[in-house]
Symmetry: C2
Subunit: 433 residues, 2 copies
């Protein structure tokens, strides 16, 4: 008999079918044995009438792998509204021991460290797996939207010869007797590739040697990068990013209602025009409205971001707000200045619910501007020769952005620690599983 | 005026339009100046009548970034069949110097090292960029097919605490004072995730510390991985892989005819049933047909793979052939033996045009089998605790495969060196650009 999935029972009412999956729970209620079977997509209930079948299943630990044949019946009280009756159970692969925590409890809140230590099993818990199914959906919608906009996917090297962006926090690698570094971002490569395809994107790992543990930082994460040529300025990039966000949120709402419901989250509305505030005006506004004099600060503090998030919510009914024009001094050397106000930049952050989610902007595109920018930061242009070659040979005005997948999930789901939205997180103390 | 792309001229015949792109070539033919402009998608020809316009463009090096306004006219002799007339040219970003090689020559064959040194510009050459556009198309079709088959995308860590698969050839990383390693494959993680989603795939970088330079090996490459649960045996996996290959080849043929033509390549036919030969029988056949006595060899030599490729071509008109049942001794510890012939395995290689392209198979799924397999190889199960936990708690029969993206492109396009199909390759001597 061909196996069907637990999500396909409605198509087989009255038929005898074969399900396969994991023993999620066995309960005896009013003298009847209910077996809940979890497969990759859902959970189905089977009624075990026969003493033989109960005797087969009862001694096994949860998570044992089973095959169940039975007749599909409508059962409004069963999860999903159907159940299997007249069942025959076959053990495919017994578990050795009960799981390290009860995966089938409605409230699943093991300590984070305990959970992460046993993530290989813990991720099977329905809410936990919904998190990473949403992560997959974000990547899917991200790529799909950009693909439709004429972007080409690239996969750039993660092993690089020099520390990107001249910064600290890079991991050194013993590269066959030389020292290489793990890429902190695909920034240089995606800019180079604008010269080839004009519009490129990449979804891949980036590495930051964060020497401290916080709830919002992790040493390896998935970056959703994009870069595009022939922009007017950073507003062209912000337009594409707004489209990306609308596409992602629309996809989640349309195809992942159940995952969102399981996590008690709702897809946030993305307004037709995401509100925008210019950095120095944002500081001015915070001073005027709250009395905190942040004028002249070079960056936004978390408190400022939260305030701007609330302001956007109240004034524009928007979970999203663009802050543009961050001071040049706080942005990387490749940042394009605001031609009308050159201490400030053609850059932006997109705040989502009061926290920075995306960073982006227009980049320099003329060779001599790069040389000047590097020298102003006491960096040697010769160390950037391979990158600068692209600019010596004609680069259009361009810009792009990067979204952290795990941080997006964290803010979308209202979770407190980025380790909850990272599949097998890497931090100061954790390199396993 | 809104910019249009060079590929959209047919929709604007008789209209005045704006193009933007790179100066690909300026030629004077019969007293007329023809400017070829390359954008991210194609090349368009513009006729420069005015002395002013010629004077603007002529002194610039190729690859300078230009905007051209002109009227679209049908011109059968022009590339693509259209050209711009009554043109006005505007320089957006001049190149500093001519490109390091002539990107606009019909025959573009710089030495490989010279090309790789200047890849930041060389990748703009139309054939070179077609290679990586096909690479993007392979990833797109790969994900699309598996998504349709119910697979969930995962992104697993590239920093791992122990050397995967207990093997050599791993890169050590200085991880905040400890030693970590770069993942040689997502093997352990994708198996763990079968317990969560049943069917998973990943497209991402893998790292091999190859200490020698060959035309077929590279130290960082893109692996297209998949893993699925509840298989009957490796044949279930081979069925999915056949579907993947048909989907990829179909997608290339349907959407990338022009890229393939530029590279003088044709998408290979994937037969309804890819022929299959059992490893010991393959050796027997090679001995019988060629007189080379390879019986008892533990693996196929490149010569044997070539012979089997020709055999499949002649006998089945197939560019593809599965070799199944490689000796257990030559496969990794997690390989499932053939129950009927336990010195051989439920594994396979897929040969494409006489070279191995994909490796896969059924994996062990019972905890005690893992412990025994590790101990037989003198590996300590405790070093694999996080991985083995998945098997202690119920894992179904499962299997999967991995395709090397760059090798697929190399064989598809008939190129001699994998560095030609790797975007910014990393090898014994090369870590830049």
């Amino acid at each position: 008999m061909e196996r069907i999935m637990t999500t396909q029972l409605a198509e087989h009412i009255g038929e005898r079918v074969l399900l396969q999956g994991w023993r999620f729970r066995l309960r005896r209620l009013g003298g009847i044995n209910f077996l809940a079977l979890r497969d990759g997509w859902g959970i189905a209930q089977a009624v075990l009438d026969e003493a033989d079948e109960v005797a087969t299943v009862a001694p096994l630990p949860d998570e044992s792998v089973l095959a169940i044949e039975g007749v599909v019946a409508i059962a409004p009280q069963a999860p999903g509204g159907f159940e299997l009756r007249e069942c025959r159970v076959h053990v495919l692969s017994p578990a050795e021991a009960p799981p390290p925590f009860e995966l089938n409890k409605r409230v699943f809140k093991p300590g984070l460290d305990v959970f992460l230590d046993h993530a290989a099993v813990g991720l099977r818990q329905p809410q936990k797996r919904a998190i990473f199914r949403l992560g997959a959906a974000i990547m899917h919608a991200y790529r799909g939207y950009l693909y439709g906009e004429g972007f080409t996917e690239i996969q750039t090297p993660k092993l690089v010869g020099t520390a990107t962006e001249g910064g600290a926090n890079v991991f050194p690698v013993d590269y066959l007797g030389r020292t290489a570094y793990l890429a902190q971002s695909p920034q240089f490569y995606k800019q180079i590739m604008v010269g080839v395809y004009e519009r490129v994107f990449e979804v891949g790992p980036v590495f930051r040697a964060e020497p401290h543990n916080t709830a919002r930082h992790i040493n390896e994460y998935v970056s959703l990068d994009a870069e595009m040529g022939f922009v007017h300025d950073h507003h062209t990039v912000m337009g594409v990013l707004s489209g990306v966000m609308r596409a992602i949120v629309g996809h989640l709402g349309a195809h992942h209602e159940q995952d969102l419901a399981l996590l008690e989250a709702a897809p946030p509305h993305v307004p037709e025009a995401i509100p925008e505030v210019y950095f120095p005006e944002a500081l001015e506004m915070i001073w005027r409205e709250t009395g905190r004099d942040v004028r002249g600060e070079p960056d936004l503090a978390p408190e400022d971001e939260r305030w701007l998030g609330e302001w956007a919510r109240e004034r524009y009914e928007s979970d999203w707000v663009f802050v543009t024009g961050y001071p040049m001094a706080k942005r990387p050397f490749y940042t394009h200045p605001n031609p009308a106000d050159p201490a400030y930049s053609n850059s932006f952050d997109l705040l989502f619910r009061g926290t920075e989610l995306v960073t982006g902007g227009q980049r320099l595109h003329r060779y001599e501007d790069y040389v000047a920018a590097l020298e102003a930061r006491r960096l040697n242009p010769e160390d950037f020769a391979g990158y600068l070659e692209a600019f010596r040979h004609g680069m259009p005005p361009h810009g792009g952005f990067a979204i952290g997948l795990e941080r997006f999930l964290m803010q979308l789901l209202g979770l407190a620690n980025i380790r909850e939205t990272t599949l097998f997180p890497r931090d100061l103390t954790r390199l396993a599983p």
